[in-house]
């Protein structure tokens, strides 16, 4: 029993990392949460293979991952449809499958979304640092040796055989998120919306923005009409703590949506994406279009509790 070698990386793709729900509670040390950018897909993936919902998975960006099972292993793929294949046969997503020893799982090119999650029954055995297995790429710690996976890396898993009998669990079709190329993100204005002109705020709400190729795990950079600050404002503000989903507007007036690799920021922030829509941020890719829609705090809470209700019910069914 215990932890055994389960998966060999044959090809890592452009960016595959070990991520769990994130490293929360250490912002006062300047430590960012990191974690899966689409936490909904991570949680469901884990539940499908009989893990705790906050266990670590592989976060696969866009394409190219290829892995071989070293033992019989229960797996599930959730999130973006990167056309997963098991031994060259298409693999149904959002469902748990047994990968036999020697089987090869590969991802080709994205059909929809940006990041897929590969959950392993028994999880990924890496040492948690500050209560999390997430990889902090910019500071090089956590996850698998603090870095993205490379060809030849071998992952280990805790008692994978105990999870095999959970095979065939699936998420109800109606609950599987559909990822298009046009996104509507619900936001609450603030914390510095009072620094913008009325026109600036209208422009923000009434325009489409393009996701640029300069986007990565630290932030989604958008291009669109310039959002103007009120006259006489300096370019930056006094640095303060930030959370993922906050939309900052630097001097050039082009929004950047902050993701989980940042703890502080010195640009003014016009609005913040609501909690229930945060998983979408992990699925937006360069070339996609984004619009922002203002909602009330009450609506934000309501949608968040709906998401939690879906997950609670799904857990009950399992």
């Amino acid at each position: 029993m215990g932890s055994i070698e389960t998966l060999e990386i044959l090809a890592p793709g452009p960016l595959t990392t070990v991520q769990d729900r994130g490293r929360f509670g250490f912002g006062r040390f300047g430590i960012a949460p990191s974690g899966a950018l689409d936490a909904f897909s991570l949680r469901i993936g884990n539940l499908l293979v009989g893990n705790r919902e906050d266990e670590a998975c592989l976060e696969i960006t866009l394409l190219g991952l290829k892995v071989r099972a070293l033992v019989d292993l229960l797996i599930a793929v959730t999130g973006a449809d990167l056309q997963p294949h098991l031994n060259r046969k298409p693999l149904q997503m959002w469902r748990s499958h047994i990968m036999k020893e020697g089987d090869v799982l590969s991802f080709t090119v994205p059909r929809s979304g940006c990041r897929a999650y590969l959950a392993l029954g028994g999880g990924i055995s890496v040492t948690p640092l500050m209560e999390s297995k997430s990889t902090n790429l910019s500071s090089g710690f956590g996850g698998f040796e603090g870095r993205a996976l490379r060809k030849g890396d071998i992952l280990s898993t805790e008692s994978p055989q105990l999870h095999l009998r959970a095979e065939g669990k699936a998420l109800d079709r109606k609950l599987i998120p559909a990822y298009g190329k046009n996104w509507v993100l619900r936001v609450l204005f603030g914390p510095q919306d009072d620094h913008f002109t009325k026109t600036g705020k209208t422009t923000f709400l009434n325009s489409s923005f393009n996701v640029t190729p300069h986007s990565d795990r630290t932030g989604i950079r958008l291009a669109g009409p310039v959002i103007r600050t009120r006259a006489g404002m300096e370019e930056s503000i006094i640095s303060e703590g930030v959370v993922s989903g906050t939309i900052q507007i630097p001097g050039d007036g082009q929004p950047i949506i902050i993701l989980g690799e940042t703890v502080t920021g010195g640009y003014r922030k016009i609005a913040t994406v609501i909690g229930a829509d945060l998983p979408l941020l992990g699925q937006m890719k360069p070339g996609d279009q984004v619009n922002f829609e203002e909602v009330s705090m009450k609506e934000a809470y309501h949608t968040q509790s709906q998401v939690e209700e879906i997950i609670r019910r799904f857990k009950e069914e399992l």
Binding site: F24, G25, F26, G27, R28, F29, G30, I31, L129, M130, N136, S138, S139, G140, F141, G142, V187, L188, F189, G190, P191, Q192, I238, S239, E240, G241, V242, V243, G245, T246, V263, T264, K269, T272, V273, I274, G275, M297, A300, Y301, Q304, S305, E308
Partner: protein, 228 residues
């Protein structure tokens, strides 16, 4: 200036920014530290984490455990009773630095900018006790002030893509140490052998917001003695 009442700024449905003053000053920052320590001490149900800044405290909360209005109510109450809370005295830490040469490639530029000798810049930098205003940017990066007016220097026009770990920099009226290699635009005047971030240690960074820091000039040969 310290505000009479804290200003609440909403950061989505999971975070609240509590602004306590309108500028960078030891007084405003001291107040942030008080509210930060007092709030942590009272362990409010639903508060996920708190992050102190120069003049504000960011409170991340779970909206399904505590509503915004309930959180604000708690904070208002805390504000009126904070005087009774005993604030622990800040610690004073010493950071040894090798100034100039390869360790501090911008020292000569800074000296010329102020028409001082490099030795005078070092005397100014080591002659002040700094307050850690906030930790951010990278793990363990402490923003410290106030730098003596005589050596306050603008950032580099072109930021470096990789500043080595331990580099001691100055920018405007602040100073700081880069605990991990990262991009950076501050003027690098020296390097410390101390390790200011270790993810496998607890606490992961020896510096905390509110600490007092003094820099100590050491020779390159002494570096090894400080490396732990």
């Amino acid at each position: 200036m310290l505000y009479e009442h804290p200003a609440y700024r909403i950061m989505g449905d999971r975070a609240l920014l509590v602004e306590l003053g309108d500028g960078i000053s030891p007084l405003v920052n001291k107040k942030v530290r008080e509210v930060f320590l007092c709030l942590n001490d009272s362990q409010v149900e639903g508060v996920v984490e708190t992050m102190p800044g120069y003049r504000s405290l960011l409170i991340v909360y779970d909206p399904l455990k505590i509503t915004l209005s309930a959180l604000k109510e708690r904070l208002n109450k805390l504000h009126t009773t904070i005087d009774r809370f005993e604030i622990p005295k800040p610690r004073t830490l010493e950071i040894p630095v090798v100034y100039g040469g390869e360790c501090g490639p911008d020292l000569n530029w800074v000296a010329e900018y102020h028409k001082l000798s490099p030795e005078e810049v070092v005397r100014f930098h080591t002659g002040t006790t700094y307050q850690v205003y906030m930790i951010g940017f990278t793990p363990g990066f402490a923003y410290m002030g106030q730098l003596p007016e005589a050596i306050a220097t603008p950032r580099r026009e072109t930021p470096r893509t990789a500043v080595p770990r331990g580099s001691v920099g100055i920018a405007q009226s602040q100073t700081g140490v880069y605990p991990v290699e990262s991009p950076g635009g501050w003027q690098i005047i020296g390097r410390t052998p101390l390790r200011l971030f270790d993810p496998e240690k607890w606490p992961p960074t020896p510096l905390e917001m509110g600490d007092l820091v003094k820099f100590l000039s050491i020779k390159e040969e002494e570096m090894a003695r400080w490396e732990v």
